[in-house]
Amino acid sequence: MLTLTINGKTMNVDAEEDTPLLWVIRDTVNLTGTKFGCGVAACGACTVHLNGEAVRSCSVPVSEAVGSNITTIEGISDGKLTAVQEAWISEQVPQCGYCQSGMIMAVSALLNENPKPSDEEIDQSITNICRCGSYPRIRKAIHKAVKLQGEA
């Protein structure tokens, strides 16, 4: 048994230590907003926060997450949408939507660390794959979220 703190809740999970955090979140805890895309940290669909930092949970053994605050897409807003989520709606970003949990988690972590990233910094930081090609809207939505956060 391992003890994890996910979205502020502490829980015991039955999993081998080398199980990727992704599968514990999805199959053991049934928080399915975090997605499986590649299993090799290449696409970012599984992005969650460990103590506020974006990580690709398909490649983080669950044992490494013990003692950290794990935040998933389900845990980023308390009833009210975040600026990033609002911007995602106003710029009409998602198409199939499968990659967007990971995108939103990656962007949220970026903006926490760097509230006004340049386009170059965005390019370097947000390397997630979207197969529907929502990138032009993602870029606009990031700038919009920066604005919304500034207004808040």
Partner: protein
């Protein structure tokens, strides 16, 4: 694996499928289909008014959407059409997946893909198309593909909304003892015209549901529209920013088990031996399953199933395809293309004779590789097989086909099959296939009455796809003294998607027949040449091929629009003017081209190292023109700076939705042009995952601007038509910048780095 039995009904479907079609038909009649299809799905207090609309006593409006939502925004599009006629705000309409029922079938998909149809030029007017519509009406297949959803459902959805509106008016009229035409519908309320009385839809629906659907209903006039033609916020987006949207892979059921598979790496290989005892003590192990092409482990979590199946000792017999390679496949194409076995799809004048007489013949050879779909959501399917029933949760593009496959594989009566549709994490044609559904049910049969969720890894997905066919084209053309193409001969060799698809479905079917997915985008180009011949040289291989976003257009547009560009440069003409000069009476194409030249600043000077390229292509009833601007560094560092796109798809339902589909199609095609290649070595796929099957990301995504140029053409599609022109527009831009002509994709083959 189960093989479908050849019942008469299913054999007729094969007949329907041979044209390259996926879907058969919507039962076209003079009135809106009644509410029978929805009665079973209606909850307490909810009343179906026809096959598409349910309204609850609280006034909640639910629209049954038969089309798969895979990112294209169809939930929004179809709800818009209903909301418009029903006189309600779009926000008040909730979509839900329609049940599997013939009334929801898609007729445009089949009509578009007939071997004897002439694409956009004749469309529905051909006798074959008409006949297929009648046959299709008897069969009724629900499918999402071929960029057909809005085209097929525009009028039926409007009719459904209008019929419901009139029934609500009638109910109010009876209550108030007035004529229905004295009532008006407004914002979910029926009012008496003089304003003295009003009732909400919720108050009226129980009575309205008992009325007979009225005939010959007048749809709203174009001027009275409030929703159609205006950009709307997508109805599915709120759930997609909170993680609440449920995709197939997210299905969670009580007592659910998980399955992972190991499949023969070589196409056609089979399992000859295994040692299931070796893994029985692994954590969470439930059961191992052996089937023809691979093995599965069922465990209490996906990760444990995956670990166990990786540890499971298996011996495969590679079969007869072990020597197959990309090289041998292209050698086959080269060989076939020189044979006399070409199938002619377009033949004007006498191109061969004209070329023999020409003093100067320009020739070129083009190649396009196999491609995988790589949907973000890997293939998955959850199945629960009972004693005499089967229940399936599957993100799919054709629930009718899935239900037939489930019936056959589980060997249960048709009426005991339930298919649950979910959101699709991408489709692109991959989810028209049934392989992963057959696999899931085969595995779940081993664990009766317990749901089993099969999830493929990304490696399973990349290595066991139904690929976009590789293809080879050889062109010969002559240009006369006025700089016009006097003869054009295009030979294309490659496998047929339709043949491969039908063979998978019905192995006994005779599939050696014309397939216009091999010629689309090559035989039906708009350019007027005095002598034109387009031939396809069927070249089946053991690599399974399938429908990949824009299908044959995806490679034929690269071939034809690149070669057209070569001819323009050879004739020393501006590529836009050269195209314009060959467009004859096609005013709609000229309109797109003119607009594109204008909005892209075509002809304005660019600094050294930069280039601009153009491509113009019609597919799925829509004309799309694109101009790409590139910058090339001294060591072939390529930057795709900007894409300008002009589209004419006829009347536009949701402008922002159309723009997003253009952006999406461009980036999808760009990923393929830059990086996309599935390589075959030793009968298997070399690539495994995104690191070696890469995609465009934010950092290399160009700026994209989309312009709409509706000309009044009939409705065209939106999901696919932006994909075909991007590759040739890009390589034409590279030529303009460097004078290097790219004749083989992807660009990484020509040593460009991105």
């Amino acid at each position: 694996m189960a093989i479908m039995k050849l019942t008469r009904r299913k054999f007729l479907i094969a007949g329907g499928l041979v044209g390259g079609g996926l879907a058969v038909a919507y039962a076209l009649g003079d009135s809106v289909p009644d509410n029978k299809a929805l009665v079973s799905s209606a909850k307490q207090g909810e009343y179906p008014l026809n096959a598409w609309i349910k309204i609850s006593k609280q006034g909640e409006i639910t629209v049954a959407v038969s089309q798969a939502e895979m990112g294209q925004g169809i939930y929004t599009a179809l709800c818009m059409l209903v909301a418009e006629e029903l006189e309600v705000d779009l926000a008040l309409v909730k979509p839900e997946p329609a049940p599997v029922h013939p009334v929801y079938a898609n007729v445009v998909a089949i009509m578009d893909s007939l071997p004897f149809s002439d694409g956009h030029h004749n469309g529905e007017a051909t006798a074959g198309a008409w006949a297929m519509k009648q046959v299709g009406g008897l069969l009724g297949v629900q499918a999402t593909g071929g960029s057909t959803s809005v085209r097929n459902f525009w009028e039926p959805m409007q009719q459904a909304g209008a019929t419901a509106r009139e029934m609500l008016k009638q109910a109010a009229a009876i209550n108030w003892n007035v004529r229905a035409d004295e009532c008006i519908a407004e914002n979910g309320i029926i009012k008496l015209k003089n304003g003295s009385k009003s009732s909400t839809y919720g108050d009226l629906v129980e009575q309205a549901a008992l009325l007979e659907a009225p005939q010959n209903i007048q749809l709203k006039s174009v001027n009275a529209r409030k929703i159609i033609g205006k950009s709307q916020q997508r109805v599915d987006i709120p759930a997609k920013v909170t993680g609440k949207a449920e995709f197939g892979v997210d299905v969670v059921l009580p007592d659910m088990a998980y399955a992972a598979v190991k499949l023969s790496p070589v196409f056609g290989g089979t399992v000859t031996d295994w040692d299931e005892n070796a893994i029985k003590t692994m954590p969470g192990f439930i059961k191992a399953v052996r089937f023809e092409t691979g093995v599965a482990v069922i465990a209490d979590s996906f990760w444990r199933a995956k670990k166990a199946v990786e540890a499971l000792p298996v011996t495969f017999d590679s079969g007869t395809n072990v020597h197959l390679s990309s090289k041998s496949i292209f050698a086959l194409f080269e060989n076939n293309i020189e044979s006399d076995d070409g199938r002619s799809y377009s033949d004007d004048g006498d191109a061969k004779a004209a070329l023999l007489l020409a003093s100067d013949v320009h020739t070129a050879t083009y190649k396009a590789p196999f491609l995988a779909h790589a949907c973000m959501e890997p293939m998955n399917c959850t199945a629960k097989v009972g004693d005499n029933d089967v229940e399936v949760w599957v993100p799919n593009q054709t629930s009718t086909l899935m239900s037939w496959i489930a019936e056959q594989t589980a060997d249960v009566p048709a009426e005991n099959v339930t298919i649950h549709n979910t959101f699709l994490g991408g489709g692109f044609g991959r989810r028209l296939e049934t392989d992963y559904v057959v696999m899931a049910i085969t595995i779940a049969k081993e664990l009766k009455n317990r749901p089993v969720k099969l999830v493929w890894t990304r490696e399973n997905d990349i290595q066991h796809d139904m690929y976009r066919p590789a293809a080879l084209a050889k062109f010969s053309a002559a240009i006369n003294e006025s700089g016009m193409v006097s003869a054009w001969h295009n030979r294309v060799a490659g496998p047929s998607v339709t043949r491969s698809f039908v063979q998978r479905l019905i192995p006994a079917a005779d599939t050696d027949m014309p397939d216009n997915t091999t010629s689309e985008g090559a035989a039906d180009i708009p350019y007027q040449f005095e002598n034109k011949l387009m031939e396809h040289f069927p070249s089946p291989t053991a690599i399974p091929v399938g429908y990949w976003r824009s299908v044959g257009h995806s490679y034929n547009a690269f071939f034809t629009e690149s070669f057209m560009d070569e001819l323009a440069w050879t004739a020393k003409k501006d590529p836009v003017e050269f195209r314009m000069a060959h467009l004859g009476e096609h005013d709609d194409f000229k309109n797109v081209l003119r607009k594109l030249a204008e909005v892209s600043n075509w002809g304005s000077p660019l600094p050294a190292g930069r280039g601009r390229g153009i491509a113009l292509h019609e597919s799925f009833g829509s004309i799309v023109g694109q101009v790409v601007e590139v910058t090339i560094g001294p060591n072939k560092e390529l930057s795709v700076d900007k894409v300008t796109c002009v589209v004419d798809c006829g009347e536009v339902l949701n402008p922002d939705g159309l723009i997003s589909q253009m952006e999406s199609g461009i980036i999808f095609g760009l990923s393929a042009a830059l990086f996309g290649e599935i390589t075959i070595e030793n009968g298997q796929v070399v690539e495994e995952n995104f690191p070696d099957y890469d995609m465009v990301r934010l950092e290399n995504c160009p700026e994209i601007s989309v312009h709409l140029a509706p000309s009044g053409r009939p409705l065209g599609g939106a999901g696919e038509p932006a994909t075909p022109p991007i590759a040739p527009a890009l390589t034409n831009a590279i030529f303009a910048a460097t004078k290097e002509r790219i004749r083989e994709l992807p660009l990484s083959k020509s040593e460009y780095s991105i």
